[in-house]
């Protein structure tokens, strides 16, 4: 989710994804975690690799990735709203 959210804005390479995720969510992804995630997302067709620039290869979110991210975020938003409402009622 974090990686897909990062790639929605524009294609990014590994280091840029790490920095963006850290800025948005306060989570610092390790290189092993990041590339395991990128591999899985690519395998599922949610992102695609672009031609490499030097040694850095940018990744771009696909249409399927956008659809999945939209659905997941909508569900998370519904859960967050319900949780906040119940907290406010107490």
């Amino acid at each position: 989710m974090l990686v897909l959210t990062s790639l929605v804005e524009r294609p990014r390479h590994g280091y840029a994804i790490v920095k963006d995720v850290e800025a948005v969510a306060g989570v610092r992804l390790g290189p092993g975690t990041l590339y395991a995630t990128l591999s899985r997302l690519q395998y599922r067709g949610l992102i695609e690799a672009l031609p490499a620039e030097d040694r850095r290869r940018p990744y771009r979110i696909t249409g399927a990735g956008r659809d999945l991210l939209r659905a997941r975020l909508a569900r998370m938003e519904a859960v967050a709203r319900a949780g906040l409402r119940r907290l406010a009622e107490r």
Binding site: Y15, S39, A52
Partner: protein, 260 residues
């Protein structure tokens, strides 16, 4: 820190090593990063997608079946030996060391055959079963092996034709006379010859089967074992790892073509 990348599978390194190195150069080294890389390497080795059963695992599975097919197996020696060699083969396979993995798994298979023979006594059908198991292993090897292995198997087959044949009467007689099993690995040079004979005949049979049209090949599919996947065009986006993770040599070729 970059040395930890060597722990990743070869296909993974072909695909991601340059990127990960670039990322590591911009990341402060720490224990946390090292641990993350270790876990990533383990994850990459345990979750190789788009792969069929590799031959060491298939051969090891056969060996395990052979060992488990001994409910009367009071001879814990050969069974335990088989299990330990099998464990070593699986460990080698898990770590990506294919050649020792093959050797260990085939040896485990051979030991399992020996355990059957030792416990059940000598008989022609066990000899045939041993040859059959070796045939399956050799077919798997032919389907997956690299070029030197494909040369070694016909060479073994040629030697077998020059040798005494699959059921050498002299060896059969000697084994019965001394009370030794035909398939006992540790029984001496004569049984080592028998083991070689198994492998040689298996190579011959496997070669004959592998030479048939693709639809007859074990685990064939389009193109059979000889077909290489489509190469990416220069400048095209990199294929997903699953597309290059089928065979290590193909991985290297694809990665090399992509780099060029």
């Amino acid at each position: 820190m970059k040395r930890l990348l060597r722990l990743y599978p070869r296909a993974w390194r072909c695909r991601y090593q340059a990127e990960m190195e670039a990322l590591l150069e911009e990341t402060a080294p720490s224990v946390r990063v090292a641990f993350d890389l270790l876990m990533g390497a383990l994850d990459a080795r345990l979750h190789r997608r788009g792969r069929r059963l590799p031959p060491p695992v298939a051969a090891a599975g056969l060996a395990l079946l052979g060992a488990l097919a001994l409910p009367w197996g009071t001879g814990l020696g050969p069974v335990a030996l088989t299990a330990s060699v099998l464990s070593g083969g699986l460990l080698c396979t898990l770590l990506g060391w294919r050649l020792p993995g093959w050797f260990a798994c085939l040896l485990a298979l051979r030991l399992a055959c020996g355990a059957v023979q030792d416990l059940a006594g000598s008989s022609w059908w066990l000899e045939a079963a041993g040859t059959g198991l070796w045939t399956v292993a050799a077919i798997l090897l032919l389907r997956w092996a690299h070029y030197p292995w494909r040369l070694a198997l016909p060479a073994a087959a040629l030697l077998s034709v020059l040798g005494p044949g699959p059921l050498a009467p002299d060896h059969l007689w000697t084994s019965h006379a001394t009370g030794q099993g035909l398939l006992g690995w540790w029984d001496g040079p004569a049984t080592a010859v028998a083991a070689f004979r198994h492998s040689a005949w298996a190579a011959l049979l496997a070669g004959l089967i592998a030479a048939r049209p693709p639809r007859w090949r074990l685990g064939g599919g389009p193109g059979g074992w000889g077909a290489a996947p489509a190469r990416p065009q220069p400048g095209s986006p990199a294929p997903p790892l699953a597309a290059v993770a089928g065979r290590p040599r193909d991985d290297e070729r694809l990665a090399g073509a992509a780099r060029r």
